[in-house]
């Protein structure tokens, strides 16, 4: 069923809200009254509910089924977190209310900071970054600030080939040149190549650990030592913290800064693309450069340090208006408290167990890229599809017909036709077993030359494959009224 756009079913004269009559009064808009037609159609409340309900039915979420999207940690989103985040005492408060009237909110921030620093073994955390990439920015800015403070104008950031795209983009944003470090045959950073690349011009390295191949960087402590010895800093992309929470503290690995995606490890909803939240933990060396604001304890209770002190304050400044993603802090803290120290460790264990189970059970029908054990995700490449006429993309689209969201494709870039499968800890053995059976059947079908099943997939989705080239070539980025209709109006 096709659902029209609101512009096709609503019009400016309908509305789904009732408001008090305004009556006449003297405007004080200085003659700037808006007079154009805005092109904002209204719908009554019943029409609105139905329109967005039907749109939702064209979506797939974690609630709909298994979502093995590697690198994205699509885990269960508990509803108690949604509930407490909506308590009026937490949702209906303003960031600039007097601090005396928001002591509970400041306590949430203080307690979240305590959990994050304890779990990571790092002395300090900046909560305000709005998402993972924003956290990267925060971390690299702190590194650059620290280097500048010692008068050290290094120009290069090292980034492994397997990194998320945000890593090089962030480094470039902060004015750094990006130098790629190759992977070795084990799917890990080539230590020798890294050491060779280090030098007085290297500000630091951005490394994901566990890395984007789903592997723990065995040499990580040696890497950290080498970077530090060369005068650089070690930024860790914490996107995969889920794999090690409670079992490994990044602070023990020699890391100087790491962002934490609250929507990955700590289960705040992905929401179709946000909002996220990306607090950054810092080593002692970088902590003084962290951005404001901070919650501190004073004589009259908690307060916010919202401005740099006049003298000697090394903070690199403010990353965002107000104090960051409070709504996400509440959800993440609720999740942490629900699990506790014991449950969070179990999270890592079950996530890794599930991934290794998949890796093992699928190894005979698909081609794992590296030797196990993996951490929280299992990486396959397209060798098992060789000469079948089925591509990674085709294979992934066929998964939709089996009732699954596709895995991550063509990432990381270090293997050919990558398929990155992350089950997370919130999937049951039953679900995994059914998924294994489906994947085996698909692999067999590909080898049995049932090519149509793949190249035409998906067959059982609201739409078939969409023409992305056309979208990019002649971009239509907003709705405009058909000519005839416009003329008639």
């Amino acid at each position: 069923l096709v659902e029209p756009l609101i512009f096709e079913i609503g019009d400016a004269r309908h509305s789904g809200v009732d408001l008090e009559d305004v009556g006449d009064f003297d405007h004080a808009l200085g003659g700037l009254e808006r007079e154009d037609r805005m092109g904002l159609p209204g719908l009554s409340e019943p029409e609105t509910v139905r329109h967005y309900t039907r749109l939702s039915q064209k979506n797939y979420g974690i609630d709909s089924g298994f979502f093995p999207l590697g690198s994205c940690t699509m885990k269960h989103n508990p509803r108690i977190n949604e509930k407490v985040a909506r308590l009026p005492g937490l949702a209906d408060i303003h960031p600039l209310q007097p601090e005396s009237t928001v002591q509970g909110a400041l306590a949430v921030m203080r307690d979240l900071a305590h959990w994050l620093t304890t779990l990571t073994g790092m002395p300090s955390v900046a909560l305000s970054p709005k998402a993972g990439a924003h956290g990267e920015l925060c971390g690299i800015m702190a590194i650059r600030s620290a280097l500048e403070a010692r008068g050290d104008a290094r120009k290069v950031i090292l980034v492994p080939e397997s990194a998320h795209g945000t890593n090089p983009a962030t480094a470039a944003f902060c004015g750094y040149q990006v130098k790629a470090i190759p992977a070795n045959d084990d799917g890990r950073v080539d230590l020798a190549a890294l050491k060779a690349a280090l030098g007085p011009d290297v500000a630091g390295i951005m490394l994901t650990n566990p890395n984007t191949c789903g592997l723990f960087e065995r040499d990580i402590i040696e890497i950290a030592d080498a970077v530090h010895e060369a005068g650089g800093f070690f930024y860790c992309d914490g996107a995969n913290f889920n794999a090690i929470v409670g079992r490994v503290r990044p602070g023990d690995l020699g890391i100087d800064a790491m962002h934490i995606n609250l929507h990955k490890t700590f289960s705040t909803p992905h929401g179709g693309g946000g909002p996220g939240s990306g607090p950054v933990v810092f080593s002692k060396a970088l902590a003084p450069y962290a951005p404001i604001p901070f919650v501190e304890e004073g004589e009259e209770g908690l307060f916010l340090r919202e401005h740099k002190a006049a003298e000697g304050d090394k903070s690199f400044g403010r990353l965002v208006a107000f104090h960051g993603q409070m709504g996400m802090y509440v959800r993440a803290l609720a999740y942490m408290m629900s699990h506790g120290a014991d449950g969070l460790r179990q999270v890592a264990e079950d996530a890794v167990l599930n991934a290794n189970y998949l890796l093992h059970e699928l190894a005979s029908d698909m081609t794992p890229s590296f030797e196990g054990p993996c951490m929280h995700e299992a990486l396959f490449d397209d060798r098992f599809l060789k000469d079948t006429g089925v591509s990674t993309l085709d294979f992934a689209k066929a998964m939709i017909d089996e009732g699954y969201h596709p895995m991550t494709m063509y990432f990381p870039l270090v293997v050919h036709g990558a398929m990155l499968i992350e089950p997370t800890e919130t999937e049951s053995k039953d679900t995994l077993d059914q998924f294994i059976a489906s994947m085996r059947a698909l692999a067999k079908a590909a080898r049995a030359d049932e090519t149509d099943r793949f190249t035409g997939a998906p067959y059982f989705a609201p739409l078939k494959r969409l023409d992305e080239t056309r979208a990019a070539r002649q971009p239509i980025l907003k709705w405009t009224a058909p000519q005839s209709q416009e003329a008639a109006e």
């Binding site: 789904g16 107000f322 689209k397 969409l466």
Partner: protein
């Protein structure tokens, strides 16, 4: 563990299938020195009932806006959001979906984003809008960087004095390590026109853009026409900033007044105050600049059967494709907040939005009238939307504290934002929305008059 489906039987069966003796086997790549054997020093897991209780305890230590006469604005506004909005965004198919990279099973997200982009572009008076950024302040920073890319070679962004101070701070941070030079003019709440005059005077041939907020942080409405003209005459761009999008139901759009890039904080529509986040960055511009935009874009296309559908597009601007050459490092946006915006805007419609805006404005004129008669209180605004500033005959911060004791949250003392500027210490910024009743205004003016009668 209610979120973890395995019990010990399951775990043993899986380990055995893998051929691992214990879970530790699977962590063998971790250097021994970094393996934690014991639990960290944090509380153990809690029942849902206990968690619920703990958060009700946190909540009890805050004063929610609904419990007070509430005049706090300054970049975040309390509006009534219809219950329908929050109901719909909590549908699992929206709430628990990922970024819509698989368009065949993400048309729900993609279509509402296309609706969102259209609403935002039309509201801000621009050709195109993106699918949202983190918030207004980072959107403003991105706009400055984009203007820099468009006006190659020009390195100076000039920020008007009425720009929200946090936005100015963020702009400085975001440009700190580039070669951009950010000039911040001093705030002058008592002289709104002077602010604009100084801004125009500051534009030179090295100016990439001027950044002007309207209504500004002190509530003054500005006609952007003359500024656009002045900027364009020197080859610079005009970046307009709107922190209260409801104003656009009553006030001419920045795009219509000549702005090249318009950024806004979209929280007012569909989203709660949330103590500052998550919020919603709106970003719109001219069609010709689209390939320099940051953030995600949704475009219309067709599927294999020729049916209309929507996809993420122009992603060669983005980090996951272009890596260090991307227009921004942004990845996550404010998906769910933009859905809330879109649904609320759909409920309002053009007529509803106009009426809502006028209600807001009406209450502000009533507030101004109520405050104008109070001794020691001078209202500074002649043209405004839903927010005004007053200069008191004494520092504003203690007055706000005193009013809080009387169940009135009276607004933001400018010293909260500019602690070092003595000339602003007596300034208080007060917002009114449709949630502020005439009774609230009377309560405020009575209490304020009472306090102001006391000797300094």
């Amino acid at each position: 563990m209610r979120y973890l489906p395995h019990n010990e039987t399951d775990r043993r069966a899986m380990l055995s299938a893998i051929g691992a003796k214990s879970i530790d086997d699977l962590f063998r790549d971790v250097p021994p020195a970094a393996r934690l054997d014991a639990l960290l020093d944090l509380p153990l897991h809690k029942s849902e009932m206990e968690v619920d209780r703990l958060f009700r305890d946190y909540a009890r230590q805050n004063v929610p806006a609904a419990e007070h006469a509430f005049f706090v604005g300054c970049g975040a506004y309390r509006h009534h959001v219809p219950a329908t909005v929050d109901h719909l965004i909590q549908r699992g198919e929206f709430l628990t979906a990922y970024t819509p990279y698989q368009p065949e099973i993400a048309q729900g997200t993609l279509q509402y984003l296309f609706e969102f982009q259209t609403q935002v572009a039309n509201l801000l008076g621009c050709d195109v809008a993106n699918a949202s950024l983190y918030d207004g302040s980072t959107a403003c920073g991105e706009a400055i960087l984009m203007a820099r890319r468009i006006t190659r070679g020009r390195k100076r962004a000039i920020l008007a004095g009425g720009l929200h101070s946090h936005y100015g701070d963020v702009a400085q941070t975001m440009t700190r390590f580039g070669d951009e030079d950010v000039v911040r003019l001093a705030p002058s709440p008592d002289d709104a026109q002077g602010d604009m005059d100084r801004l125009i005077a500051a534009i030179d041939d090295n100016t990439s853009c001027v950044v002007v907020q309207t209504p500004d942080m002190f509530g003054h409405l500005h006609d952007l026409g003359p500024i656009a003209e002045a900027a364009h005459a020197k080859g610079a761009l005009l970046v307009a900033v709107v922190t209260e999008v409801v104003s656009l139901g009553a006030v001419r759009s920045p795009g219509e007044m000549g702005a090249d890039i318009v950024v806004a904080e979209g929280q007012s529509i569909g989203n709660s105050l949330n103590f500052g986040g998550p919020y919603l960055g709106l970003f719109a511009t001219r069609a010709k600049f689209v390939r320099q935009m940051p953030g995600r874009l949704v475009g219309e296309t067709v599927d294999a059967d020729g049916q209309r559908g929507f996809v993420l597009t122009l992603s060669t601007r983005e980090q996951h494709i272009r890596r260090e050459k991307a227009t921004s490092n942004i990845c996550t946006n404010s998906g769910l907040c933009s859905l809330a915006f879109t649904i609320h805007m759909t409920l309002l419609g053009e007529e509803g939005l106009r009426k809502l805006a006028l209600l807001n404005h009406r209450q502000a004129t009533r507030l101004k009238a109520a405050l104008s008669g109070i001794k020691g209180v001078k209202v500074l605004n002649s043209q405004f939307f839903n927010e005004v500033s007053v200069r008191l005959d004494r520092p504003a911060a203690p007055v706000v504290e005193a009013l809080a004791g009387r169940k009135i949250l009276a607004g933001v003392p400018a010293s909260r934002l500019y602690p070092d500027r003595d000339d602003l210490a007596n300034i208080l910024i007060l917002a009114t929305t449709e949630t502020v009743s005439d009774g609230d205004i009377a309560a405020l003016s009575d209490a304020l008059a009472d306090i102001m009668q006391a000797e300094l």
